[in-house]
Amino acid sequence: MIIGRLYIDQKSVVPKVVIGVVIALLAIVPLFTTSMVTLSTLISSGIWAVAVMGFILILRTGQFSMGQAAFMAIGGYVSAILTLNLGLSYYWLSFLASGVISGLIAFAIGLIVLRAGGTSFSIITIAFGEIVRIVALNWEDLTHGAAGILVKPPPPINIGNFEINFSLSLVPFYYFMILLVVASALFYWQIDRIRIGGTFRSVAANPVLAEHLGVHLMKYRVIAFTIAGVFTGFAGAYYVTFISVINPLIFDLWKSIQIMMMAIVGGPSLIVGGAIIGSTVLYSLGNYLSQLPVPNVQYVVFGAVVVLVLLFLPKGTGLVDLWGKFWRKVFREPEEYEIPGEFADDEEE
C-alpha cells in the first residue's frame, strides 16, 4: 500500500545517529556560509517541510487534501494583519494566533467537508483554496487586496547583552526555522508512532473494519485535519515573515499541489523523513529551474518528476524508501519485518 506500512520502524530506515549528525551539521551551517542563496533555500525548504508533514498526516487518514496552501495563507494573513494592527511588539503573539486560528478554521471546515470524504473531499479542498484566495483578493479593508501586506521582520530579542536581530541577517531566521521544523517534526513523529497514529492508518487502510472495532472515523479524520491546520498555519505565518510580503497570489492552487508533490516525491511512508527530503529536493530543484530563461519549465519538470517517481519507484514509496534500501545494502542489515516501535521498546525494558 502506498500509504506505507502501518508501523514502520524508523530506526531501520534512518538510524538516530544519522539524524543527529544531520541536525548537528545543519546547526553549524551559518558558521561556514552566510550566503543568501544557501540560507534562504534551506529556510524555505524547512518551512515547506512543515506544511508537507501536515499533508502526510491527513493522508494517513486516507484523505487527499488539495487545499493545504490555503491554511498557509490563513496563517500568513492572520499574523500579518495582527502585527499591522497591534504593532510589531505583538509579533510573537500574532504568530501564535496564526496557528490557533488556522487550526480552528481547519476544525470547522473539517466537520463539514470530511463528511463527504474521499474524492469529494479533494474537490472541496480545491474549492476552499479558491475561496480563500478570492476572499483575500476582495476583502480589501482587511487584506489590502491584490497589493497585499508588507510584513516586517520580528522585533529584536535581547538576552542579556546578546541581541538577536532579524532585520540584519538571515541567520536568526535560519535558527528559528530549525526550531520550527524540529518542534513540528517531534510532534508529528510522536503522533505517528503512538496509538492514535495507528488509528489514523486504520481509518485509511480499512474504514469499515476500523469502524466496527470502535473507531469513530469522522473524529479521527477531523483530528488529523485540525492538527495539520495548526502547524500549516505556523508555517504560513513564518513563510510570509521570511519573504516579507503576503498577497493572494503567494498561496494559490499551484502551491497546494506543490505540497502534494513534495509529499509524493519524498515518500509519504515516513511522515518526517519523507516531508523533509521531498521539500528539500523539490524546492532546490524549483529554485534552480526558476533561474533558467525558459518560462514555465518548473511546471513541466515537477509534473514529470512526480509521474516518474510514481511509475518507477516501487509502489510509489518515494525517495525516502530508496534511501532505506541504500542504507540496508551498505550496512547489510537484514530486510526482515520489524517489530513495531512501541512494542520493541517494551521488550527492551
Binding site: M1, I112, V113, R115, T119, I123, Y299, L311
Partner: protein
C-alpha cells in the same frame, strides 16, 4: 429577474460544464478514478483548434473533430502508460490521483512553453449575432449549445445502441462479470478515456471563439465541472448533466446579482448541498 443575456451565458457555461463533467464521470465509472487533468485536455483541445483554424486553415467544424481525435489519442496514451500502470494491486487511489494532478501542471507548463503565455483570440471565427427581438445571441454561443446537444444525443446513442456502449455499461456495473462475458476491460478503459478526453477537447475548441485561448484556461472549467460532479453525485451520469446545468446557471445568475465574491457564494452553496446530501443529488444513498 436577470436579463435573457445572463441566462444565455449561464446556459453556455452549463453546456461546457455538462460536457466536461459527463466525460469525467464516464471515465470514473469505468476506471474508478477521477481524471484530474480533464481541464487541461480542454485547454489542449482549444489550442489544437486555434492552430488548425489560424495556421492550417482547416474549417472550424472539421478542426473540432481533429482536436477530438488528437487529444483523445493523447488521453489514451495517458491511460495506457500512466493510469493503467498505477492502478495495479497494491496501489491505493493516491498514486493515480497524484499522477493526474501532477499532469495538470505538466500540460499547462508544456503548453506555456510551446505556445506562449499570451492569450490568443479567435473571435473572428463564426462572427455575427442572431437578433431575436427580445434578446440577441451570438452565433458562437449558438454553436456551443448546438454542439452540446449533438454530443449528448450522440453519447446517448453510443451508450445505448452500440456494442461498445453495451460493453461500457456492463463494465461500469459489474467489471468482474463483464470480463467473464468476454468484454476486454483494459480495452474498454482505453476507449472510455479516449471518448472522455475527446469530449473535453471539443468543448475547449468550441469555447475558443467565446473566450480566449491560453494555457490556464482549463482551470475554471475543471473546478466547476468537479463541483458539478460533487453536486450530481460521484459516478452518476445523470447527476453530472444536472449538476453541470445547475452550476452553469447558478454561476451566471449569482455573478449578475453580486458582482464579486460570486464564486464564494457558489462554493458555499455546493458545500451546503453536500451537508444535506453527502452523496450528492443523484449519488447512490449509502446503506
Amino acid at each position: 429577474m436577470p436579463p435573457a443575456g445572463i441566462w444565455i451565458d449561464g446556459l453556455v457555461q452549463s453546456c461546457i460544464y455538462m460536457t466536461m463533467a459527463f466525460g469525467m464521470v464516464l471515465v470514473f465509472s469505468i476506471l474508478g478514478i477521477l481524471n484530474w487533468t480533464h481541464g487541461q485536455f480542454y485547454m489542449l483541445g482549444a489550442f489544437v483548434v486555434y492552430y488548425a483554424v489560424t495556421a492550417a486553415g482547416i474549417p472550424f467544424p472539421l478542426s473540432l473533430l481533429v482536436s477530438g481525435v488528437i487529444v483523445g489519442a493523447l488521453g489514451m496514451l495517458v491511460e495506457k502508460f500512466i493510469i493503467e500502470r498505477l492502478t495495479g494491486p497494491g496501489y491505493g487511489l493516491l498514486a493515480v490521483t497524484a499522477a493526474t494532478m501532477a499532469l495538470i501542471f505538466f500540460f499547462e507548463g508544456a503548453a506555456g512553453m510551446a505556445f506562449g503565455l499570451m492569450a490568443k483570440g479567435m473571435a473572428t471565427t463564426l462572427p455575427g449575432v442572431l437578433d431575436m427581438g427580445v434578446f440577441s445571441i451570438s452565433y458562437q454561443k449558438i454553436a456551443v449549445i448546438i454542439f452540446t446537444l449533438i454530443v449528448m444525443v450522440a453519447m446517448y446513442i453510443v451508450l445505448n445502441r452500440t456494442k461498445i456502449g453495451k460493453a461500457i455499461r456492463a463494465t461500469a456495473q459489474q467489471p468482474d462479470a463483464a470480463s467473464l462475458y468476454g468484454v476486454n476491460v483494459g480495452w474498454v478503459s482505453l476507449i472510455v478515456m479516449g471518448i472522455g478526453c475527446a469530449l473535453a477537447a471539443m468543448a475547449g475548441g468550441i469555447m475558443g471563439p467565446v473566450q480566449s485561448v491560453d494555457p490556464f484556461m482549463g482551470r475554471i472549467p475543471m473546478i466547476m465541472s468537479l463541483l458539478a460532479i460533487v453536486i450530481g453525485g460521484l459516478g452518476s451520469l445523470t447527476g453530472a448533466i444536472v449538476g453541470g446545468i445547475i452550476l452553469g446557471l447558478l454561476n451566471s445568475v449569482i455573478a449578475y446579482k453580486i458582482s464579486y465574491l460570486s464564486e464564494v457564494v457558489l462554493f458555499v452553496l455546493v458545500i451546503a448541498i453536500l451537508l444535506i446530501r453527502p452523496q450528492g443529488l443523484f449519488g447512490a444513498a449509502s446503506k
